[in-house]
C-alpha cells in the first residue's frame, strides 16, 4: 500500500515539464495581467494599488458595453448563418468518387489563406470602385462599406462566412462520412423522405462534431480582430469596432495597462462562461 503510494508520488515528476511549460506560457502571463488590472502604474517604481476600480470602470464604460453588444450580435449571426449553411453544404457534397477530392479542396481553400490576407482580399473585393463584389452589388443597391455602417457590418459578416463556413463543412462532412451505409439503407427500406433521413439519422449523429463546430466558431468570432481591423479598422465610426479591436486600442494604442488588464480578464471570463453554457446545453440535450 505505502509502496504504491510512493510510486504514485514519483509519477508527479513526470508531469513537471508540462507544469513548467504551461506556467511559463499561460499562467505567469495571465498573472501579470491580473497584476496590472489591480494597480495604476505610472512607471515601474511608481504605482498605486487600486483594487477593483478598473473592473468597475471598464464594466461601466459605454464604449465597452457597445462593443460587447456588437460582438455578441456578430457571434450570434455568425453561428446562425455558418452552422446551418455548413451542414447544408456538407450534406450536398458527394460521398464517393473523384468529385470528393475536388469538392474538399475547393471548400478548404479559404481556410488556407492567412487572416490578414483574407482581410486584404475583402478590403479590395468589396470596394465599389475597383472591387468586383462591391461593383456588382453597387449595380443593384447603393453600397459603400467605408461610409455606411450597415454596409461595413455586412461586409465583415460576409467575409467571416466566406472564411469560416468551410470549417463547419469539413467537420460536418467528417461526421456524415462516419455514418455506416446500413443506416441509409434502412431509411430507404423504411420509406423515409430525404428530410426524415436528415432529421433522424444524419442530424443526431452530427451532435458531436456540431458541438465542436459551435464552440470553435463562437470563440473565434467572439475574438475576431485581424479581418475587420484590415477591412474597416473598426469603422465607420465604431460600427465594426468589436471587443478585441477596442481592447487593443486601449492596451497598445493608449497604453492604459490597468484598464486593459481588467478588460482582458472580463473578456476571458465571458468567453469561458458562454462556452461552458453551450457545451453543457449541447451535451445534456443528447442524453
Amino acid at each position: 500500500m505505502s509502496d504504491g503510494r510512493q510510486k504514485h508520488n514519483r509519477a508527479w515528476w513526470l508531469v513537471l515539464p508540462v507544469v513548467v511549460s504551461v506556467a511559463f506560457t499561460a499562467i505567469i502571463p495571465l498573472m501579470t495581467v491580473v497584476n496590472y488590472s489591480v494597480q495604476d502604474i505610472f512607471s515601474p517604481f511608481d504605482r498605486i494599488f487600486v483594487g477593483l476600480d478598473w473592473f468597475r470602470d471598464v464594466a461601466r464604460d459605454p464604449e465597452v458595453r457597445g462593443a460587447l453588444v456588437r460582438t455578441l450580435i456578430f457571434s450570434a449571426q455568425v453561428l446562425l448563418i455558418e452552422i446551418p449553411l455548413g451542414v447544408l453544404i456538407a450534406v450536398c457534397m458527394p460521398r464517393r468518387g473523384w468529385t470528393v477530392s475536388v469538392a474538399l479542396v475547393l471548400v478548404a481553400l479559404p481556410l488556407l489563406i492567412p487572416w490578414n490576407v483574407v482581410g486584404t482580399i475583402w478590403q479590395i473585393f468589396a470596394r465599389g470602385d475597383i472591387g468586383l463584389g462591391g461593383w456588382a452589388v453597387n449595380k443593384v443597391v447603393n453600397f459603400n462599406y467605408t461610409l455606411d455602417s450597415a454596409d461595413a457590418w455586412i461586409t465583415v459578416l460576409a467575409m467571416d462566412v466566406w472564411h469560416w463556413t468551410p470549417l463547419v463543412v469539413l467537420l460536418a462532412y467528417a461526421g456524415l462520412r462516419s455514418i455506416p451505409d446500413p443506416y441509409f439503407q434502412a431509411a430507404q427500406i423504411d420509406g423515409a423522405s430525404a428530410w426524415a433521413t436528415f432529421r433522424h439519422i444524419q442530424l443526431p449523429r452530427l451532435r458531436g462534431v456540431l458541438t465542436i463546430a459551435i464552440l470553435l466558431r463562437f470563440m473565434d468570432s467572439f475574438m475576431i480582430y485581424t479581418e475587420p481591423f484590415v477591412v474597416t479598422g473598426g469603422g465607420p465610426g465604431n460600427a465594426t469596432s468589436f471587443l478585441s479591436i477596442l481592447l487593443s486600442k486601449i492596451a497598445v494604442g493608449q497604453f492604459d495597462l490597468g484598464p486593459a488588464g481588467a478588460f482582458s480578464l472580463l473578456y476571458f471570463l465571458i468567453v469561458q462562461i458562454v462556452c461552458y453554457v453551450f457545451f453543457t446545453v449541447l451535451t445534456r440535450s443528447g442524453r
Partner: protein, 379 residues
C-alpha cells in the same frame, strides 16, 4: 405478396462476379434460408432483391411487374441488417412506428401494429425507452420489429439478423420468426452462414457458393442427397467424407478394392424440376434419388471422388479394409476416425456401439466429378 423472380440476374463490383448470372424464383409465402460461407454473395443477392443495389445485368420481377429500376422505397420490401440499425434518439415505440408513419398508415393502425409486434418480440415494457439505451441484443430485436411491422410486404429479407443476439435468445427468436411466418404468410429470406440456423428455420434451404446457387431443397434433401461436393462439406457436422476413387468397367474402386457398382444420376437441370430453370450448372435442385437402378446410366471410366456422410459409414467385419486411428466421444454419439487406403475417414456411430473391426461399408455413397454429383454407388 408476390413471387420474386430473378431473370439472368448477375452482379459484379470488380471484374469477378459477386453474383453469377442466375435465374431463380422465390415463391410467395415460403420461408427460405440462403446459406453459404462469408463472401459468397448472399448479401449482394439480398440487396438486389430489395433494390439497394441495381444488378449489373438481368431483370427482377415481382410477379409480372418489372421492378429492376424501381427504388427500394417503391418495392414494399422489408429488410433487417446484421447489426442493429436504429433511429437512436427516438423511443422504441417511434422506431417501430417509423416505417408505418412514412407510409401514412392511419394513426390507429400504427398503434395496433406496433403493439402487436412489440408483444410478439417481448418489447412491451421497453416501448417508452430511448432505443439507444437498450443493449445490443434488444436493439437488434427492435430492428427486427421494424422489419416485421408492415403489412403486405412482398418479402422480409433477414441478413444474418441474430448475429449479435445472445445464444439463449436466438432459439426463442427463431421460433418466434417461424410463428410470425405462419401467421402472416410473408415470404421470408433468411441469410445465414450457420447451417443449424438454416436447417431449423427454413422450408427450403438455398446453398450459395462463389456467387452461384449450387443446390436448393428441404434440409432433408440437402442432407441425404447432396448434389455438389460443397453441400456435402458445408451441411452436416462433421461434413461429408471425400475419398478419391476410380470407375473401371462400371465398378467403383478405392485403392484396387471394389466398393460397388457406379450408377449415373441424371445431370442437374436435365429434369424439369421446379425452380431449376435457366443457366446450366448454376441452379441445381437435388431430388432424393428414386428407386435405385431405375434411372441408372453408365458413368464413363476415370477418376471420381466418392462422398459418404459419416452417418452412413458402417464399421464391421466386411467391406473395405480400414484402420481405426482414434475415437472422440461426444456424448450423444461417437466420432470414429479411421484410415482407408491412406485417406482419413470419419464415422458417426451410436455411443456404446463397437468401434473395433477392420472393415467399413458405405450405405449411401455418391460419386462426384468436378465437384458436381454424377452418380451413386449401388451394390
Amino acid at each position: 405478396m408476390a413471387d420474386i423472380r430473378l431473370e439472368e440476374v448477375g452482379h459484379r463490383y470488380t471484374d469477378d462476379w459477386a453474383v453469377r448470372p442466375m435465374t431463380w424464383t422465390w415463391r410467395s409465402g415460403r420461408a427460405y434460408a440462403l446459406l453459404g460461407p462469408s463472401g459468397c454473395g448472399k448479401t449482394t443477392l439480398l440487396n438486389i432483391i430489395s433494390g439497394l443495389l441495381t444488378p449489373t445485368q438481368g431483370r427482377v420481377y415481382f410477379d409480372d411487374r418489372d421492378v429492376t429500376s424501381v427504388p427500394t422505397a417503391g418495392r414494399d420490401i422489408a429488410q433487417v441488417f446484421q447489426f442493429p440499425v436504429l433511429y437512436e434518439e427516438m423511443s422504441v415505440y417511434n422506431n417501430l412506428a417509423f416505417p408505418l408513419r412514412n407510409r401514412k398508415y392511419p394513426r390507429k393502425e400504427v398503434d395496433e401494429r406496433v403493439r402487436r409486434v412489440a408483444s410478439l418480440l417481448g418489447l412491451e415494457e421497453h416501448l417508452g425507452r430511448r432505443a439507444r439505451r437498450l443493449d445490443a441484443g434488444r436493439q437488434q430485436i427492435v430492428s427486427l420489429g421494424r422489419g416485421l411491422v408492415r403489412s403486405g410486404v412482398a418479402a422480409v429479407l433477414l441478413d444474418e439478423p441474430l448475429t449479435v443476439v445472445d445464444p439463449a435468445l436466438k432459439w426463442t427468436l427463431r421460433s418466434k420468426l417461424k410463428e410470425i411466418h405462419r401467421d402472416t404468410g410473408h415470404t421470408l429470406i433468411y441469410v445465414t452462414h450457420d447451417q443449424t440456423e438454416a436447417l431449423t428455420f427454413a422450408d427450403e434451404v438455398v446453398v450459395l457458393k462463389d456467387g452461384a446457387i449450387v443446390q436448393s431443397g428441404t434440409p432433408e434433401e440437402l442432407f441425404l442427397s447432396p448434389a455438389h461436393e460443397f453441400v456435402g462439406h458445408f451441411i452436416g457436422s462433421p461434413g461429408m467424407n471425400m475419398l478419391p476413387a476410380t470407375v473401371v468397367d462400371g465398378e467403383v474402386r478405392i485403392g484396387g478394392a471394389c466398393v460397388g457398382r457406379a450408377a449415373g444420376l441424371p445431370l442437374p437441370g436435365e429434369r424439369g424440376a421446379p425452380g431449376s430453370t435457366g443457366t446450366a450448372g448454376s441452379v441445381i435442385t437435388g431430388p432424393v434419388p428414386g428407386p435405385r437402378s431405375a434411372q441408372a446410366m453408365p458413368i464413363s471410366a476415370g477418376p471420381v471422388r466418392l462422398g459418404v456422410r459419416p452417418e452412413f459409414v458402417r464399421l464391421g467385419g466386411s467391406g473395405l479394409s480400414a484402420r481405426v486411428t482414434g475415437v472422440d466421444d461426444l456424448g450423444a454419439y461417437l466420432l470414429v476416425h479411421a484410415e482407408v487406403d491412406g485417406h482419413a475417414l470419419t464415422a458417426k456411430t451410436a455411443p456404446g456401439a463397437p468401434v473395433s473391426g477392420e472393415h467399413v461399408r458405405f450405405e449411401r455413397a455418391f460419386l462426384f466429378r468436378d465437384e458436381v454429383r454424377i452418380g451413386e454407388v449401388v451394390a
